[in-house]
């Protein structure tokens, strides 16, 4: 589903503080499976996820999504693909304070111009599935960490993407909440979604919900 060939990524290229985060990554990611990237801080996991999720472009190399080369697409097309095909769950959740859980969840669908009633119905369905219906109208800053993460998950699913990208999803959760997240993860695979996540957490990478673990260090793959 996603093929990466010789992906290299540099930050501050051409300046004195030039830094290469990825050094020629070749990887093929299968659809409908959960792939976890494991590695220490600075190993390039998150950078790789941003490239796969069309949040940034590689400095060199090619990204193919469903057979199409998306590495050189203009921003507008990249944004379309990102909105329609990828859902993101960030480490810090990145919810917008002052807005209700419902408002946060429907935000990614605004540019699509779908009617509000349809978006609210879809959000309600997601809240029910994530057992969050009673908190839909609450402002996100009033929610607990676990609830905030479920709001972030609902937001990632509002556009019904094929791929879910989660960056260190359990880093801010205790064991019980992490287990809850893994259960939700299994639900994703059951629904046929492809999941890519980064984690140090043994609870995640050793879980049976994860189909493949890819190790990384210093911007290189170190084997599955």
């Amino acid at each position: 589903m996603i093929e990466l060939s010789n992906i290299r990524k540099a930050f501050n290229q051409g300046r004195s503080n030039e830094y290469w985060a990825l050094h020629g990554i070749d990887l093929s990611i299968e659809a409908g499976k959960v792939t976890a990237f494991r590695g220490p801080s600075g190993s390039g996991k998150t950078t790789l996820l941003t490239i796969v999720g069309c949040l940034s472009r590689p400095t060199s190399g090619r990204v193919r999504f469903k057979g199409e080369d998306i590495s050189a697409l203009p921003e507008r097309f990249l944004t379309d693909i990102r909105r329609q095909s990828f859902g993101f769950v960030f480490q810090q959740f990145n919810l917008i304070k002052g807005l209700s859980a419902l408002e946060n969840v429907i935000l990614p669908a605004f540019p699509s111009g779908r009617p509000r009633a349809e978006l609210v119905a879809r959000a309600d369905e997601l809240f029910a599935r994530l057992q969050l219906a009673h908190r839909a109208q609450a402002k996100v800053e009033w929610l607990s960490g676990g609830e905030q993460q479920r709001v972030a998950i609902a937001r990632a699913l509002i556009n019904d993407p094929e791929v879910i990208i989660a960056d260190e999803p359990t880093a801010n959760l205790d064991t019980a909440l992490s287990m809850e997240f893994m259960a939700i993860l299994e639900g994703f695979t059951a629904a046929g979604k492809t999941v890519l996540l980064t984690s140090h957490d043994p609870l995640v990478v050793e879980s049976s919900a994860v189909h493949r673990v890819v190790g990384m260090r210093d911007g290189r793959l170190i084997g599955d």
């Binding site: 998150t46 996820l49 941003t50 949040l55 940034s56 921003e75 507008r76 944004t79 990102r82 909105r83 329609q84 993101f88 960030f90 480490q91 990145n94 919810l95 917008i96 304070k97 002052g98 807005l99 408002e103 935000l107 990614p108 605004f110 540019p111 699509s112 111009g113 779908r114 009617p115 509000r116 937001r155 556009n159 960056d167």
Partner: protein, 377 residues
Amino acid sequence: MSPWLEKQRHLIDFTLASLARRKTRNLGLLVVYTLLVFVLASLTLYSNALRSEAKYVLAGSPEVILQRMVAGRHDLIPPGYLEKIGRIRGVQKKEGRLWGYYYDPVLKANYTFMARPASEVADGSIMVGEALARERGLARNNTISFRSYSGKLFSFEVAAVLSPDSELLSADLVLLSEGDFRRFFEYPDGHYTDIALSVANPQEVRNVAAKLTATLPDSRPILREEVQRTYQSVFDWREGILLTVLAGAILAFAILAWEKASGLSAEEKREIGILKAIGWETGDVIRMKIWEGLLISLTAFLGGFLAAYVHVFHFGAAVFTPVLKGWSVLYPKFALVPAVDGLQVATLFFFTVFPYTAAILVPIWRAAITDPDAVMR
């Protein structure tokens, strides 16, 4: 609803929610912005209404007034001048006028005395303007005495108080018969203060003036359009003075707006990053922020303009009256006829709404083009 319209609706919904989240800051800005529009709009509306009023009032005055000049000063029209003018093509009517100023030590104010034909005002009686009647406590059938410049005392009976509708013109006016006027001011027989001429065709006015100058070289024709222009200049000048005084306030607002617009908080920048990461295009973010700027500036413009309208046309522009209306002891009381000039509204709109909306664009654009992966770092 089309997806495009639905999308704009979503953007406006989100913008309103964003504005509500930063209530104190946005309300503060809105109040200052509205106040500025209010002040500028009041000034514009009031000056414009006064100009319209002057134009309206002058519409009833003669097209040409002829004054005799001696050593560059206005002098009396000697006998025979009316006849010397003779028949000029285009002149419908010519009339010698008698008027003068009288200083009343009781009110410490100048009145304008004007002679009217005996058919309008009988000997021994006068008609007075509303402001004068108010200040001197006069009513119909009251008697009032004035001491003439030669020291003689004259008593008049008030035959009527002039209609308040004409107060802008007649506030300090005293109408009396020609005979009384000549006796009171010891005005020589056959002399007049000036000559009023009515010209039906506006195209002819300048030709008539040229012929008058040729016939009576010691006289000066004053055209109504020149008087109108002078009024315009006087109000333009007053408006200019007030604008200069207000320049500080306008500048302060500009600084406030610029600071607000250019100083995107870290929280706002973070939010823009999140929106981009979850699938908003740079254009969507910019559109949303333009909606935000437009909502603030249009609300301020409408609020400020409506408040100014009420202030000027319902409360008589209490704030600006002393500066704009001019100086007088006998202030006429008059309600301004609402007159709104489309071009002035457009100018005001351009100078208040446009700069603000433009000022917010650059920083928003700068923030909106940041890489969406920033939120992952």
